[in-house]
Symmetry: C2
Subunit: 222 residues, 2 copies
Amino acid sequence: MPGTRRRSNTERRDESQARILDSAEALFAARGFNGVSVKDIAKAAQVDTSLVHYYFASKAGLFTAVLRRHAPRVNQTRMDSMAAYARSAGTQMTVEGVLRAYLEPAFRLAREGGESEQNYMTLIAQISVLTSDALPGVDTTAFDPAIEAFISMLQQVRPEASREDLYWFYHLLTGAITQSWARTGRIDRLSGGLCRSDDFDTIVEKTVAVFAHGLTVGETPR
Amino acid sequence: MPGTRRRSNTERRDESQARILDSAEALFAARGFNGVSVKDIAKAAQVDTSLVHYYFASKAGLFTAVLRRHAPRVNQTRMDSMAAYARSAGTQMTVEGVLRAYLEPAFRLAREGGESEQNYMTLIAQISVLTSDALPGVDTTAFDPAIEAFISMLQQVRPEASREDLYWFYHLLTGAITQSWARTGRIDRLSGGLCRSDDFDTIVEKTVAVFAHGLTVGETPR
DNA sequence: ACGGATGGATTGACCGATCAGTCTATGGCG
DNA sequence: CGCCATAGACTGATCGGTCAATCCATCCGT
């Protein structure tokens, strides 16, 4: 039979797990953790509900697995991007450059990756505004290393800025970013189509533009 | 019996509705729409589940009612605040002033209001990153008038800025704001207690500081 | 090269609990 | 008395999760 090779057990295992994760990711992103049932996910993945529990033990375990799947890649790409920038810029580092190095990887992943990566970003956006008791014991520390590196680089470029200001700066930045990842289409409607919430290239540009000036210390402009 | 006056039917009605709305608001804010059952809400409000349906027809209807309850007040306070600023500043309006006039009312409401208002802000933060199919036909246009007024005032202060840039500016700003309203405590943990996510006074200051510079047009700083 | 035996992958049937929502009854205010 | 606010009992559907049975790729003894 051409095309349909016989699959080994480990292949079957990986494929099924990936299908479950893909379906879960898409559905969780669309309707939230409690808006989706295990049955929904199993049906979308064309698998029995028991198999979901077989692999991921519980609905919460599945959710955690979804969140963990791409986290290391995002974190690593960010670290690499910032390290590469630091190497190329040397002592000429700018806030704009650091911002761009930190921002681009995740947005590039969302743009060049498939639906899976886009759904993942949407999911991150959703949990970013949730407190822990709205979620099953979810670990939100996966991105912390890159965040700390980001703040350290900002401190290098702006030695006069206080640690507190840098954290607030990050807080505001990450709010803006996650809002963009959510792709709600609200800015599209508000602007009458002038802005498109899925235009990630433009979003990175505008984010860099606004926040690069935002860390400027000194006189408030006119 | 001192203190417990005899209640009329309309008083009972209003009190019960308010109790249901309060409980729903708190629970929805804590666990999201699908994370809460009508039974939970009824129990918290100390009423029967059928009473919830009697007043609000459905769970979705209740959710909509919760969202609508404070919306006009927030919107109106924003409009008043911006109008007052425009009157006092005359031709001396600044980006910083407009920002502060737009931002302060909602944060003041959250600070000076009770738990209800704080829960309301948390709820707004949550739905701001949700697409329409994750929600029961919820109307998110309640704040549009104040938003349009805000953008118009920005345009007055920055006539050279493009309409598109102003909308992107608003997009980034509202992301930062809703992140703050969510009070997830994540920045507290990241900063090692240096920043407190419920310190709304500081948040307004930092937001104004960052975004006032952000709309500056011209050369990117070092 | 072959034919059980083994064990992981997968399923269908089913569990008690809980869901949103309905129906009917009733008690007390106007 | 009449009506509205409220409660209790209940419905069919669906929830997350379990269990024993089945499927099938792989391995081993011959």
